[in-house]
């Protein structure tokens, strides 16, 4: 293909962040089809929503500081926790890692110039933004902010006068954006791997994204149609979920969880992929059990489709269905355990340098282990009956989704930051932020596990006096956590302009994204990469005696 040589030169040297002549400023960003810029556009939008969601969560905790009404009444409280959930789930965690880090890193790790459908990728971003705007608009249009909880359970969501209709359509649109991203990633992985890179030569983050994308494609349409039906139930009264018309509210829950259980693996699998990148890099040794980790991602994706019923153990499902879903649920624990054991084995006899991304990864393993292990009591029938719909679930959920997905994303951000911007953040400040986040996190969410076992139901604006102590502890934890997160964002934002120049491969990592310059050029690689070794082959790094200038912490 005869492209003018100057264009080719521009595409393979310099930085993707440089402005193109004639395509400056905001317009240049809004019309870009470069996967890296699109990733950063997602980052800008999503972290904004994350901060909004965090502020709402902070409000919830303040209200729960003591029994009785502190400063927001029941109605407002119900809207606040619903919005916290809707924003965090639909606008942040579900699309988060794939859209931000997946977009940026996947083509680089595969040695490709871009994703398979670059323009579709930009379209996904716009679809996402339309969904986000609709979600925000639902707050102000007649009816007011939704108060259903993020699950939109019928018949409450059908009857309530708040603006559920807009919110569910927004969720539908957001789902469509996820589907497009999923299609794009699967095709990219199938078609654009560098010469010499087989499926089992891919970095494990790609495997995580691959499994995730399949879930997005297969599961999202089901919730899409369910939410449309909920909308029509409100507007036309079609009766599918309305008991007075012969409908069954439990069927809504089936359809909702058919999507929403697999989707927790959409949130968690890419985070597991990130951890699988960070551990070998800082242990400077190949990952233990590559195939086992890759295959366990696929296994989790598949088994994840079989277990949705464990969200419904108390709704009056048949007893047969209850025990079948219970036993299937336990089989998800096995591939998850396999991953954790393999990660531990990767540290064994490594040459470990403890730096910020590794700190996040280790913290992740700890938090996610709590998340996973507390899930066992939800899978077992007798115990789940007691803790279902209590603060225990809220605690467990945050350990997996926040401790798992979001802390994993933070780990990835600190790991790839020098690649994305070519600069390094202040590692000392980053370590402080990490410490605050870890302490705050556990102080915030561990008491919820205790409260739940004591019998504190979830989504309560007020509570009985026996629960006061642990609620107070939890609220104090939220202050520490928020301080840590703000410090982390401050540190990263500052480093975009003021950080030290990082170098192309500051950690001594082995996957392809580290073999191009930092930040990468527009077309990612000056020389088309050809792969001759496995993804975690440290021979070259060790031979060079690679010793990055920064010392171990």
């Amino acid at each position: 293909m005869a492209a003018p040589s100057s264009v080719a030169a521009f595409g393979t040297t310099g930085s993707y962040l440089d402005t193109f002549p004639g395509r400056r400023g905001l317009w240049g960003w809004l019309t870009t089809v470069d996967h890296k810029k699109i990733g950063l556009m997602y980052a800008a939008a999503m972290f904004t929503f994350f901060l909004v969601g965090m502020a709402l969560g902070f409000l919830i905790r303040l209200e729960l500081l003591q029994p009785g009404t502190q400063f927001i009444g029941p109605k407002t409280y119900n809207s606040v926790f619903t919005l916290h959930g809707v924003i965090m789930i639909f606008l942040f965690i579900v699309p988060g890692i794939p859209a931000i880090l997946g977009n940026f890193i996947l083509p680089l790790q595969l040695g490709a110039e871009d994703v398979a459908f670059p323009r579709l990728n930009l379209l996904s971003w716009y679809v996402y933004m339309v969904g986000a705007v609709m979600a925000l608009a639902s707050l102000f249009i007649s009816g007011g902010p939704i108060d259903t909880g993020w699950t939109f359970y019928a018949p409450y969501a059908v009857n309530t006068q708040t603006n559920v209709s807009w919110a569910v359509l927004a969720a539908f649109v957001l789902g469509f954006s996820s589907i497009l991203t999923g299609m794009n990633f699967i095709t990219t992985i199938h078609r654009l791997r560098a010469p010499g890179m087989g499926f089992f030569g891919m970095p494990l983050f790609c495997w995580g994204l691959y499994a995730t994308s399949w879930i997005q494609i297969i599961a999202t349409p089901v919730v899409g149609i369910t939410l449309v039906l909920l909308f029509l139930e409100r507007t036309l009264g079609i009766g599918f979920f309305d008991p007075s018309r012969g409908g069954d509210p439990i069927l809504y829950q089936h359809l909702f969880w058919i999507y929403s259980h697999p989707v927790v693996y959409v949130m968690i699998l890419p985070a597991m992929g990130i951890i699988s990148e960070i551990l070998p890099t800082f242990a400077r040794r190949t990952i233990f059990g590559y195939k086992a980790i890759a295959m366990s991602s696929m296994a989790i994706a598949v088994v994840g489709y079989l277990v949705w019923g464990h969200h419904m153990f108390t709704v009056g499902m048949s007893d047969t269905a209850r025990w079948i879903f219970s036993i299937l649920t336990f089989f998800v624990a096995v591939p998850t355990g396999v991953k954790v054991f393999n990660w531990m084995a990767t540290l064994y006899r490594g040459s470990i340098e403890v730096r910020v991304p590794l700190l996040y990864a280790l913290g992740w393993v700890f938090l996610f282990s709590i998340g996973g292990l507390t899930g066992l009591a939800n899978g077992a029938l007798a115990t789940d009956i007691h803790i279902h719909d209590t603060a225990y679930i809220v605690g467990h959920f945050h350990y997996t989704m926040f401790g798992g997905a979001v802390i994993g994303m933070f780990a990835g951000l600190h790991f790839w930051f020098p690649k994305i911007y070519g600069r390094m953040y202040d590692e000392k400040r980053a370590t402080w932020a990490w410490g605050l986040i870890m302490v705050g996190f556990n102080t915030l969410y561990f008491p919820m596990l205790i409260l739940g076992i004591m019998g504190m139901p979830r989504r309560y604006q007020d509570y009985l006096p026996q629960f006061s102590f642990w609620h107070m502890v939890s609220t104090i934890g939220s202050w520490i956590l928020v301080a840590g997160i703000l410090l982390m964002f401050f540190n990263l934002l500052r480093a975009i302009r003021h950080g030290k120049i990082a170098g192309d491969n500051p950690w001594g990592a082995t996957t392809l994204e580290w073999k191009t310059s930092s930040p990468p050029p527009l077309l990612n690689f000056a020389q088309a990469p050809v792969v001759t070794t496995g993804p975690y082959d440290f021979t070259e790094i060790l031979a060079k005696g690679h010793d990055p200038e920064a010392k171990s912490l």
Binding site: E113, W214, H254, M317, A321, A528
Partner: protein, 103 residues
């Protein structure tokens, strides 16, 4: 910029074009199968009609998939992916019925 060529490997081979007569034949087959289902439901309403529909409808679907949609001539990976999608849909249905059939 040479590496862009390396990515086109195997992607753009001339397609495998089936003869038009085959398509017409499939179409006739589809119409006959439709006629079979309809007449079964008219003349044997109830169990037999349903049984015929249950057997014939997937056969029609398979004809459309394999020939009109060319799936028979695609790489096995396409067929595998299709089966995964359909299989998971079947799982959704099957597991849901563990609830509804045992209430």
């Amino acid at each position: 910029m040479n590496h862009s060529h390396s990515m086109t490997h195997g992607g753009n081979a001339r397609p495998h074009v089936l003869p038009d007569g085959l398509f017409v034949g499939i179409w006739v087959g589809l119409l006959l199968l439709t006629a079979a289902t309809v007449s079964a439901s008219v003349f044997f309403p109830g169990k037999i009609g349903i049984l015929v529909a249950v057997l014939v409808t997937p056969a029609k679907a398979a004809l459309i998939l394999m020939y009109f949609m060319h799936l028979k001539y695609e790489k096995p990976a396409f067929v595998a992916m299709f089966l995964v999608a359909v299989g998971i849909l079947a799982i959704f249905m099957g597991l849901t019925f563990f609830d509804y059939l045992h209430r």
